[in-house]
C-alpha cells in the first residue's frame, strides 16, 4: 500500500495501462510536459517521465482541436489502438459533442456490432474553484443521456485507480469525470494492479435510518454530514455509485428497502441530472418502501458565477446535505420543547 493522492492514483493507473498493453497511447493537450501530474515524474529527466519511458509515438501532445482529438481517438480505437484522451477541463467536451454523440456512442450500434471502440476520455471538473462559468461544469448528466457511452465518477484515490484500469481494458468508450476538489485527497492505495468493475456501487458508510447516495465530490461531504447526523441520533448509509453508466441501482434499492428514506447529493444541475434519474428509478421500483419523499441535494439550475461569495453556496455541501437528510428523517428528530428561536425563514435555507 502507498499513500496516494487522487491525481497520483490516476497517474499510477495510466502507467500500469501503458506497461500492460503497447496499444495504449495517451493523447491530449500538454500531456508531454505532465502539466496535470498524471503522465510523469517531477521533471523530464525523472525516471517516471512518460515521454522518456514510452516515447513520442505513444505520448502525444495535440493541437487545441477537441473535435479531431476526440474523433481521431475514436477512429484509432476502431482500428487497433486503445487511446486514453486527456481533455483537461470537462467544459471542453462540448467542442467535440458531435464526435461523442454521433461517432463514439453510435458507431458500434449502427454498424451492427462491427466496431468496438476501446477509448477513455478523461476530463476534470474544476467547479468550486472560482474558475468562472466556462471552466466550472459538471457535464456527466448530458452524457448519461447518450446510450453507448459508459461513465465513471470516481470519488476516492483507490477508486480512481481501479476504475481507470478497468476503463482502459474495456472495449467500449468510457468518459471519466474527475473532480478537481478531490485532486489532493490522499489515502492508502494498493500498489499491485487491481480492477474495479463498472456497475458496482461502494457502500462508504453503513446506516439504518436514511440512504444517502452521493456522487463525485459530494461523497466526502456526505460522509461528513453522516458523521454529524450520527451525533443527532440519525444513522445514515452513504452509497457512492462510482459509475453512472452502468448504474448499480440495485444496491440503492436494497438500502432504501431497509431505510425507507432517500437523499441524493449530486453536484450537477438539478434538471435531468444523475439525482433525477436515481430518484425516478427508486420511485418506480421501490415506491412501497419509501416512508418520506425523496430529496435531492443538488446544484440549482443557474450558471456558475465567479465570485467566491456567489459560487460556494451553490453546490451540495455537508450542511445542505445534512439539512436534506433531516427533512426526510423528520419523524426521527425530537422537536425541541420551545419552537421559538428556530430560523424557518426560507431565505436562510440552503439552496435546493
Amino acid at each position: 500500500m502507498t499513500r496516494m493522492s487522487y491525481l497520483g492514483a490516476i497517474g499510477a493507473a495510466q502507467r500500469e495501462a501503458m506497461e500492460a498493453d503497447e496499444r495504449v497511447v495517451i493523447i491530449g493537450e500538454d500531456v508531454e510536459a505532465n502539466v496535470y501530474g498524471t503522465t510523469g515524474g517531477k521533471s523530464r529527466s525523472d525516471k517516471g517521465d512518460f515521454l522518456q519511458m514510452y516515447g513520442p509515438n505513444r505520448i502525444r501532445n495535440t493541437p487545441i482541436s477537441e473535435e479531431v482529438i476526440v474523433g481521431s481517438a475514436i477512429g484509432a480505437a476502431m482500428t487497433g489502438l486503445r487511446p486514453i484522451v486527456d481533455l483537461s477541463y470537462s467544459s471542453f467536451l462540448y467542442m467535440a459533442m458531435d464526435q461523442f454523440v454521433n461517432q463514439a456512442a453510435k458507431n458500434r450500434y449502427m454498424f451492427g456490432g462491427q466496431a468496438s471502440i476501446p477509448v477513455v476520455f478523461r476530463s476534470a471538473m474544476f467547479y468550486g474553484l472560482n474558475t468562472g462559468a466556462h471552466h466550472s461544469d459538471r457535464p456527466y448528466p448530458m452524457f448519461m443521456n447518450v446510450p453507448g457511452l459508459k461513465i465513471m465518477v470516481p470519488a476516492s484515490p483507490a477508486d480512481a485507480k481501479g476504475l481507470l484500469r478497468t476503463a482502459v481494458d474495456m472495449d467500449d468508450p468510457v468518459l471519466t469525470f474527475e473532480a478537481c476538489t478531490l485532486w489532493g485527497l490522499k489515502e492508502e492505495v494498493p500498489d499491485e494492479e487491481y480492477k474495479i468493475p463498472f456497475g458496482v456501487a461502494r457502500t462508504v458508510r453503513e446506516g439504518s435510518d436514511v440512504t444517502l447516495v452521493a456522487i463525485s465530490s459530494a461523497v466526502p461531504e456526505a460522509v461528513k454530514a453522516a458523521e454529524a447526523l450520527a451525533d443527532d441520533g440519525i444513522s445514515v448509509e452513504v452509497i457512492d455509485p462510482r459509475t453512472l453508466v452502468p448504474l448499480d441501482i440495485e444496491t440503492v434499492i436494497r438500502s432504501v428497502q431497509r431505510t425507507g428514506r432517500l437523499v441524493i447529493a449530486d453536484p450537477a444541475h438539478k434538471t435531468c441530472g444523475a439525482a433525477a434519474e436515481i430518484s425516478a428509478l427508486v420511485a418506480e421500483e421501490a415506491f412501497e418502501s419509501l416512508r418520506a419523499p425523496i430529496v435531492r441535494a443538488v446544484t440549482p439550475n443557474t450558471q456558475i458565477p465567479f465570485s467566491p461569495s456567489l459560487e460556494k453556496q451553490l453546490y451540495p455541501n455537508r450542511a445542505s446535505i445534512a439539512d436534506a437528510v433531516r427533512r426526510v428523517a423528520g419523524e426521527l428528530i425530537t422537536a425541541p420543547d420551545d419552537l421559538a428561536g428556530i430560523d424557518d425563514d426560507p431565505a436562510h435555507q440552503a439552496p435546493r
Binding site: N102, G112, L281
Partner: protein
C-alpha cells in the same frame, strides 16, 4: 501509369456495380421497398472507383451520406449492402444502419456518416493507428464540397500534417449542396486550402475520367505509404439525380444544358470507349460484363428478399460489447438477443 488489363476491367465493373445498384435502389425507393430515402452516386462513379481502387485491400476509408458507392468501390459484396438498405437481418449492419450508415469492416470500410464532415476525424484516427502500430496501412476520408466548409476537416488536416499521418482527404466536389451551388458558399478553391497546412493539394478537373482520379489518388497514397504525410485531392464531378431520391424541387437550380453537358461526359461511357480504343476489351466483352453486373444486382435483390427482418430484440443489441448493469430492464439482460452476424451480443440497459 499503365495498369494491367484485369485492373482496368475491374474499374469498369465496379463503376457498373455502383450505377446499376443505385438505379435499382432508386426504383425500390419509388416502389416503397426501401423505407426512407437514399442518396445515389450515379454520375460520380469514376470519382469513387478511381479513389477506392487506388487503395489496397487492407487500407481504411470513411464516407458520407452519399454512401453506397464507397463500399461497392472498395469491393464489398452487393447482397448485404442491398439488404441493409431495406433493413433486413442479413444487411451488412444487421439492419441497424441503413443507407446512411453502411460499413463493411471486411474491406476496410469504417462507416458512412450522416453528419457532414463528421467522419473525417475517424479516418484521421485510423491513420494514427497505422502510424503508431507501423502496419503500413493508409486511410482515405471521403467528403463532399459541403464538408469542405466544416471545421472538422481543418482540425483533421492540421493534426494529420503535424503528425505526418498516412491519410488522404478526398473531396468529392459534385458542385452542389441540396440545391445551393458550392461556389456561392465556398471561398476560393478547395484544393488550394492544402497549402495552408503544408501538404499537397491537387484538383482533378476531369473527375469523370476514372484513370485521372486513380492517378491523382495513387500519388497521394504512395506519398502516405512512404511516411511523407497527408494530401488533399479535390475531384470535380457531378450527380445526375437529385440530392436524395424522391426529392422534388420547384426551383430548377441546375439548367438542362448543364445537365446534358455532364451526361455527355458519362464516366462509364467514357471509360468503355477508352477500353475498346486501347484494345483492353471488345464491345462484346463489355456487353457481357454489363449483363453480368445487372444479374449481380438482381441477385442482391433476391438475397434481400430472402432475408427476414431482424427480431425486435435486435434493437437492444450492439450498444456495448458486453452485457452490463442492472437487470430491471423490461427487455432482460441478454434474453433472446441472438446475433446473426456473429458479434458479441449486448443487452441494452434502461
Amino acid at each position: 501509369m499503365s495498369l494491367p488489363p484485369d485492373v482496368l476491367l475491374e474499374m469498369q465493373r465496379r463503376m457498373l456495380r455502383i450505377r446499376y445498384f443505385d438505379e435499382r435502389a432508386s426504383l425500390m425507393v419509388k416502389r416503397g421497398h426501401i423505407p426512407g430515402t437514399v442518396h445515389t452516386s450515379i454520375g460520380q462513379e469514376a470519382q469513387v472507383v478511381g479513389a477506392t481502387m487506388a487503395l489496397g485491400e487492407h487500407d481504411y476509408m470513411s464516407g458520407n451520406h452519399r454512401s453506397h458507392g464507397h463500399p461497392i468501390g472498395k469491393g464489398s459484396p452487393l447482397g448485404p449492402l442491398m439488404a441493409e438498405l431495406v433493413g433486413k437481418a442479413d444487411g451488412v449492419c444487421g439492419g441497424k444502419g441503413g443507407s446512411l450508415h453502411l460499413a463493411d469492416f471486411n474491406v476496410g470500410s469504417l462507416g458512412e456518416s450522416g453528419i457532414i464532415g463528421s467522419s473525417i476525424p475517424i479516418a484521421t484516427g485510423a491513420a494514427l493507428s497505422s502510424k503508431v502500430l507501423g502496419n503500413g496501412r493508409v486511410a482515405l476520408a471521403f467528403f463532399g464540397d459541403g464538408a469542405a466548409n466544416q471545421g472538422s476537416l481543418y482540425e483533421s488536416m492540421n493534426i494529420a500534417g503535424v503528425w505526418k499521418l498516412p491519410v488522404i482527404f478526398l473531396c468529392e466536389n459534385n458542385q452542389y449542396a441540396l440545391s445551393t451551388p458550392a461556389h456561392t458558399v465556398t471561398s476560393g478553391v478547395i484544393a488550394d486550402r492544402a497549402a495552408g497546412f503544408g501538404m499537397p493539394g491537387v484538383r482533378v478537373e476531369n473527375g469523370q475520367e476514372v484513370l485521372s482520379v486513380y492517378d491523382a489518388v495513387s500519388t497521394a497514397v504512395e506519398r502516405a505509404r512512404r511516411g511523407e504525410g497527408p494530401s488533399l485531392v479535390e475531384v470535380v464531378t457531378y450527380r445526375y439525380n437529385e440530392h436524395s431520391e424522391g426529392l422534388r424541387l420547384s426551383v430548377d437550380y441546375r439548367n438542362a444544358e448543364e445537365k446534358a453537358l455532364w451526361r455527355s461526359r458519362d464516366p462509364i461511357l467514357l471509360f468503355r470507349t477508352w477500353l475498346v480504343e486501347n484494345g483492353v476489351a471488345s464491345e462484346d466483352d463489355l456487353d457481357k460484363m454489363d449483363a453480368e453486373v445487372r444479374e449481380e444486382v438482381e441477385e442482391s435483390v433476391r438475397f434481400t428478399d430472402a432475408s427476414p427482418f431482424p427480431e425486435p430484440s435486435r434493437a437492444f443489441a450492439d450498444l456495448y460489447t458486453e452485457p452490463f448493469g442492472p437487470t430491471h430492464s423490461e427487455h432482460g439482460r441478454g434474453a433472446g438477443l441472438d446475433n446473426p452476424i456473429g458479434h458479441p451480443t449486448t443487452g441494452a440497459v434502461r
